[in-house]
Amino acid sequence: MTTYSVLETEEALLPSPVGRRRRGFWDYVPFAVAALVAVPVVVVLCHVFVPAGEVWTHLAETVLGRYVTNTIWLFLGVGIGTAVIGVGTAWLCSMCRFPGRPVFEWALLLPLAVPTYAIGFTYAGLFEYAGPVQSLLRSAFDWGRGDYWFPEPRSLGGAIAVMTLVLYPYVYLLSRAAFLSQSVCVLEVSRTLGRSPFRSFLTVALPLARPAIVGGVSLALMEALSDFGTVHYYGVDTFTTGIYRTWFGFGEPAAAAQLAAMLMVFVLALILLERSSRGSRRFHHTSARYRQLPGYALTGVRKWLAVSACLLPVLLGFLVPFGQLGAWTIATADKMLDASFFALAWNSVSLATITAVIAVCVALLVAYALRLRGTVPMRAAARAAGLGYAVPGSVIAVGVLLPFAWLDNRVDALARDWLGVSTGLLLTGTILALVFAYLVRFLAVSLNTVEASLGRVTPSMDGAARSLGASPGRVLFRVHMPMVAGGLMTAGLLVFVDVMKELPATLIMRPFDFNTLAVKAYELASDERLADSASAALAIVVVGIAPVVLLSRAITRSRPGGEGP
């Protein structure tokens, strides 16, 4: 899966224009939609041109170095961590047989449903000096402070570990889909050419899954880079905490946006670098034949190694925090669980559902337009629209707020001038604006997924359908949509889970008296009432589990030629 997979096939798709083609829906609408979603990103980027000299001198002299170092370590740590865990478990679950594998197949996705800060609080609470683990050690061995070494949970390393545990499922998800869709023939050839299963994995399966792995790791990294809650609580200064401090502590939006722009440029540069390093290699399947995946039956030590490799991420990324949240929920149930709680759940689920549907539709529209007409402005708009994912949530929320409020105030001024009535704020503070903000944040997730699935539909399908007289729209509905239904579902479910957990945009964009589970959990947690916040956080997890399990089943079924072993 890759952001760019479609670009590889577009030459084949573009008919050489004979005469003048009439421009229509597919030339304008998708571009307009993508451009609209890109507006907040552009708004943030525009701050780059506002001078903020004095603050920069201060930042450069004092904290910028630390921001950069910490961010790079976080980037490397989470990147390597999610890649190793995600790819490793995906390989084991796709290619090997060992006890519990059918359960791990979906259980490995579960941490996706857990909000990062919930895991962050849980582990800080468990492993801090005052926490149960260290207290137990001290009382058991009669140690005092400084008598022993224990890793500091609230630290850069801790933040990396926590984020890796929550974010590896992105890599697992996408690389598993890639392994499942690989032809086994190339692996078998590799075996007969003298490479062991492991070396074949390294030299053939892994490079072939590269676009998918890169896609998954970049989703994980974008999310890690934009995280504020965890790094702030863990006392790790990153670019993102710096952006907050500069914006809301100094009151310097321009300098903060410039920091955010640096972050975006960094992400974009990496994506382009990876892209150019691929050269003219190809990663399509060269084979149309699908045999049952080998299903190496593991025995002895290897079997148990595989079981622990899969169990550990599930245990640490899901079971432990889930247990902690559950215990807190039980302890606070009579206080926290009342009728209003279900209203919160309803708000969260309906917002997540609406956004998921819209995000998939927009992604389909944009991805299909890229396939039909990959013009430079179209591509630029699509890429910019996807960048919202890499920007800290609050910053992008403000980026959404500014144009909406501006538009509202303009409309209001016009109405006053011409009609003598005030229209007030038409969009700001409505569900509409909130859903749009979600779209800006999460379009990258759905777009990546949908583009990748469309990329797997061979261009000759388009040709065949078009030559049978179907319009592009009809081809999309009758041919592509049924073929990529699994991909669309994956995209929708990912967005659903992300919206369930979303916080900064919800906080700032929501209408009066409108709360969600995430808002509730956050308010209580940030007020340092962790136990009280657990029921809301647990509800987010519970609601997220069903989509996550569905997701796994969709992927298993997606293998061409039927189920895996």
Binding site: Q134, F248, L402
Partner: protein
């Protein structure tokens, strides 16, 4: 195009919560968490029949929302949990001055804006919470003293990204000037028992566990532990003591949770009513008991846990100064490496 605009407007109107459009409510933007403000707002509705609509959020973002909504903002009242953000709102022209005898009568002068742009409603002091086993109360004196070498590796305090610490630094700057405050902050940072992390409650827990000897925290966090439903929490809190610093000098640094009426409030009259209600006895007691804060009014008693610490002399520095010095305070923290 016109049809599109009409349709969009119609949809938007539909989406706008009806309550906000209905006649004469009062709309509140609050940095104070819903759990801690809603009971007071409900009491107001009960007494006056005026509906209150609420949005809570983080200071920076909600400030930005209020600012960008401009003249058309639906917000009438802005509630914050510190004076710094109130005076920033004033500077940005988001508030309007209010003349109210009730407010002026009950709220002490140093807890409100001299020009009436905002009013403090409840107080919290930034105090020392220490372990009596490891700290002799005679060692304790002032904030400034915490920079002394004898505290090396013993202090616990959260990050300077937090507004309470920024306000404390601002108060120090107003007392000692920037240069001396920077020297103090440098000494303070050198005495940290660990890298700043977690919230105020985490600092108190760390003192209890022995990771440090003294935590610099807001009173209500400790008050809440003392009043906790959880017996372990109460037991842990009871092992510790509170100390009010600067009693021989300017007094202990206090901050307020306060409110102001927005510059373009559509329901100004109701907004003033709400503010006046909030200094009423009933509301002040709610502030005191729901969150272990000190009522702004002198004649309303704090909760029994808070009262158990005795009375103290508070710094009468006008809190509007905190907002003016906030940026300087953050930059100072950056310079001395207080994360």
């Amino acid at each position: 195009m016109r049809i599109l605009i009409t349709a969009a407007s119609a949809a938007a109107v539909l989406f706008t919560t009806l309550a906000a459009v209905a006649a004469d409510p009062v709309n509140v933007y609050s940095y104070r968490k819903e759990e801690l403000i809603r009971p007071i707002l409900n009491a107001f509705t009960e007494e006056t029949g005026i509906e209150v609509n609420l949005i809570t959020g983080n200071a920076g973002e909600l400030h930005q929302r209020l600012k960008s909504e401009g003249k058309n903002t639906p917000a009438d009242v802005l509630v914050t949990v510190d004076a710094g953000n109130l005076s920033r709102a004033k500077e940005d022209g988001l508030l309007q001055p209010i003349k109210s005898e009730v407010l002026e009568k009950y709220i002490p002068e140093h807890l409100r804006d001299p020009e009436g742009y905002w009013f403090g409603l409840s107080k919290r002091a930034r105090v020392f919470v220490y372990s009596p086993d490891r700290v002799d109360p005679s060692e304790l004196s002032t904030y400034f003293d915490l920079a002394d070498e004898k505290w090396r590796n013993r202090l616990l305090i959260r990050s300077s990204t937090n507004i309470y610490n920024q306000s404390l630094i601002a108060a120090m700057i107003s007392e000692f000037g920037e240069e001396k405050t920077q020297e103090w902050a440098r000494g303070l940072v050198a005495n940290f028992a660990r890298r700043p992390q977690g919230g105020d409650s985490d600092q108190i827990h760390a003192v209890e566990a022995g990771e440090g000897d003294l935590a610099l925290v807001n009173t209500y966090y400790y008050g809440r532990m003392l009043a906790s439903d959880d017996a372990d929490e109460r037991a842990a809190a009871q092992k510790l003591r509170v100390f009010f610093p600067n009693q021989d000098g300017r007094g202990t640094h206090v901050n307020v949770s306060g409110a102001g009426v927005t510059a373009y409030a559509p329901h100004k009259e109701n907004a003033v009513k709400l503010l006046e209600f909030m200094v009423g006895e009933e509301a002040q007691e709610l502030f005191a008991n729901s969150n272990q804060e000190y009522p702004a009014r002198q004649d309303v008693a704090p909760s029994k846990e808070v009262a158990s610490w005795g009375t103290f002399k508070e710094d009468n520095l006008n809190l509007s100064v905190l907002g003016e010095l906030n940026k300087e305070a953050v930059m100072l923290a950056d310079r001395v490496g207080w994360r």
